[in-house]
Symmetry: C2
Subunit: 154 residues, 2 copies
Amino acid sequence: MKHSKEKDSAIYIFKSYLERKGYRKTPERFAVLNKIYSICGHFDVDSLYEMMKTEKYAISIATVYNTIELLLECNLIKKHQFGENASRYEKSFEGGNHDHLICTDCGKVVEFWNPLVEKIQEAATCSTQFEISCHVLYFYGLCPACKSKKTDGL
Amino acid sequence: MKHSKEKDSAIYIFKSYLERKGYRKTPERFAVLNKIYSICGHFDVDSLYEMMKTEKYAISIATVYNTIELLLECNLIKKHQFGENASRYEKSFEGGNHDHLICTDCGKVVEFWNPLVEKIQEAATCSTQFEISCHVLYFYGLCPACKSKKTDGL
DNA sequence: GTTATTGCAAAATCTTTGCAGGGTG
DNA sequence: CACCCTGCAAAGATTTTGCAATAAC
């Protein structure tokens, strides 16, 4: 069993959240969190469900959805909708607070990071009085490969 | 009949796009574009469909989806997925190139604008070599009303 | 005249819900 | 031991698809 500081702290946060809200600490909920924090990159509900079923853990899809909802509430995961049917998720602290470029042609997703997003967040907080907890920023366009494919075609 | 420079230019862009791709210029396609460019703010496919049916224009939902796809391809509209079931759309040039704050409690959506987004886009273009055509930036958090509701509750 | 596009309805996909049984606090 | 949570299956919602009829080029 590999130890992960990130995962330990996620479990701690989740536990505190459940206690604070008076929710129950069921094994299913921790199994989902545990699985999610062992996944690198994005995943969707169905693949998470299938992985858990395959490995050993019999859990229902309804409980997976339920737990994902809780994890979103305490900001342990982030929800993405890149334009496909199914929502995709990732742990919140995956590789810093990165954002995404999405190729409108082949669907490829590339990550990047830029500190200016936080400046924008400060400005938005100031002007709207929202209490902002997180953000998503997507740039849509053509990846280098699809870009040259188009140019060649002309 | 009200004239709109914005709408005229959208029609021109759409026409050129259809021609360039060898797609057909059907009345349904222009009816959808026309309707969309008369809507202020966000809309979803179903409400667009209902509006067109109510007003006069008999069109099928399949054709609405088809046309929305084309309008996305030529960047005349933007697709949003704020976390509800249905995707929402808006014309691309609606009130400048604004972004959105979304209340995680009541679902309220507020718009704002910040020029730094373009700086980030330049940097992302530079580092990834994507050819970026548009972006969406969402901040999630509590709106002022929900924020004070929470504080009062404690 | 060809063939892309439309409309309809059925299908597919993802997510939510209702309810009975079981486990947590 | 109260009642929250789970699992199951069915229902809901949104979007896609197949096919015959229609209309654009």
